[in-house]
Amino acid sequence: MKARFQISMPVRYCVNLILMIAFLTAGSFLTQSGLLGRAQNSIIIQVGFYIILAVSLNLVTGYLGQLPLGHAGFMAVGAYAGAIFWKSGLLPETPSLIVGLFVAGLVAAAFGILIGIPALRLKGDYLAIITLGFGEIIRVAIINLSDITGGTPGLKGIPKYSSFLVVYICVLIACVAIHMLMKSRHGRAILAIRENEIAVESCGVNTTYYKVMAFAVSAFFAGVAGALYGGNQGILAPASFDFMTSINILVIVVLGGMGSMIGSVIAAAILTSLPLALQAFNEYRLIIYALLLIIVMVFKPSGLMGTYDFSLSRLIEKAVTRLKVPKEEGGVYHDDP
């Protein structure tokens, strides 16, 4: 703990807050100014949902170490809950938007807990299959409950709330909330379950509670992403929440690196915008997409980012420390809490 440059906590929070505001301002200026085409704008919004979905799935797959395949199910629950609330017009526009997102998240989280308690007794493949079943049940239930959900043709006339600002504020909230959770005793318990379940139990940590907590938080944000999706499309059809959607989200998480939030964000951005970028190669598009996945998995099986987590402050601290004491390598440093 020798000469080491450290940014104090309040400064660190202020810097991050300023950067986030700058990002939101720049982004909403860019999308509204007409510099980008309609297609680009819609891709940017889509990248937003996928970031939330991937970051929330990463909590369960990367941090908790379980493999659920029903993420689209939670997304669907949230999407319909949010859309039905918005359509009911109980509240004026802005409060309705905020409350609706909460409703979407909470309903999805409730389903997460409901599914999580029995499902998380199982591990690995068994959990994958049970959650896969759950996702399908949700989709079929939506088709059959046509009085509430509009059935196969879909739920129409959803207010289009999902502007760049709304979507990316939710993205930032999801990332920050999950980051804060992970850097606490709860997050350490979740990571420790992934590392060695028997040892965590012998430390007196209630593993079932933390598995269900991770599942519920993950479902909450999947629900919010679902609601935003509905608010972007204006119409919801059950077909958009099928098994392939769950797989796509999982592919993003695996490609980005399980257990790396920045990895999930980057992979979501790349994989969502890739189809647009490859439009010129029309018929070879899917082949290139698949090849890219194979290449990454062969050369970097742990994903683009491995388990690396990005921290701007730590980067600055390291750089400054190195400049100040160039000879001292690998000194002891504290992890930021």
Binding site: R185, R188, L191, S202, C203, G204, H334
Partner: protein
């Protein structure tokens, strides 16, 4: 030379009139048709260092798993500080005051040394979900106290400078020591050590012996250890139980155990005394 009654209690005199920290009564477990442990009786005083030895496969680790409720016993009962552990699971047993290390090290390898100890302090840092996500004052206070406590615990083994290393990157001996620190962090009244000296060289073993004594003296807790290193067992244990084929064959002080004919037979086979 008298053969000792293997069922008799053997608590050191200073602990005799106190409630024993651990008491097993007729403990037994069957796996299918196989009786792995049978009629296991032991009483451990609040500040005793006790050894559990026996040939490979004698059932020593099975007993640890029974005591920490990884397995539920088929017969008999375990009392922790006078409380029956009948309906407890591993988590509840830890909260009731039992902590352990593992024969095959079970650290959280991808977490740092500090984080490993903080998982041990998990229940002590009592803040809930919302204080963590919104970074309320209770989070900061609890994290600060927890980290200071973790460094203090690490300093027992002089490991405070390794706090930011990944646990998986530590040398073998340090990993064993870190497991002990993590177990101590849960604030137990009895610590179970499963082969703490495995893979250590003689000088490291000597140091470990000192540290086990130091832990007992500073924390005023009982320690039950499984070990094959006789120098360590005979050096620090006040009472030793010898297990063979799931049964206690001898119990007593190190001197009594060393000269017990049944023990010699179990370790060296019949006629071992002549060898």
């Amino acid at each position: 030379m008298t053969t000792h009654n293997p069922q008799a209690p053997m608590v050191p005199p200073r602990d005799r009139d106190k409630t024993p920290v651990l008491e097993c009564k007729n403990l037994g477990i069957d796996f299918g048709g196989l009786t792995a442990v049978d009629a296991f009786n032991i009483t451990i005083g609040p500040t005793e260092i006790c050894g559990l030895i026996g040939p490979n496969g004698a059932g020593k680790t099975t007993i640890f798993n029974l005591l920490t409720k990884v397995y539920q016993p088929t017969r008999g009962a375990v009392y922790l500080n006078g409380r029956d552990t009948k309906n407890m699971n591993t988590i509840a047993a830890n909260k009731a005051g039992i902590a352990r290390t593992f024969q095959n090290i079970r650290l959280f390898k991808e977490l740092t040394v500090m984080e490993n100890v903080l998982v041990g302090l998990h229940n002590e840092m009592g803040y809930r979900f919302f204080p963590a996500v919104f970074r309320l004052p209770s989070y900061w206070r609890s994290e600060r106290i927890g980290k200071a406590r973790a460094l203090e615990l690490l300093s027992i083994f002089d490991m405070q400078d390794m706090a930011s290393y990944k646990a998986g990157a530590l040398p073998y001996g340090s990993q064993r020591r870190l497991e002990i620190v993590r177990a101590l962090a849960t604030n137990p009244s009895i610590l179970l050590l499963d082969e703490p000296a495995a893979g250590m060289n003689p000088s490291e073993t000597g140091e470990l012996m000192e540290n086990i004594r130091k832990i007992r003296d500073t924390f005023q807790i009982a320690i039950l250890l499984i070990e094959h290193d006789m120098q360590l067992v005979m050096g620090i244990c006040e009472g030793i139980a010898v297990l063979n084929y799931g049964r206690v064959i001898a119990k007593g002080t190190p001197e009594e155990i060393k000269s017990d004919p049944q023990v010699i037979e179990a370790y060296l086979g019949k006629g071992g005394q002549d060898a």
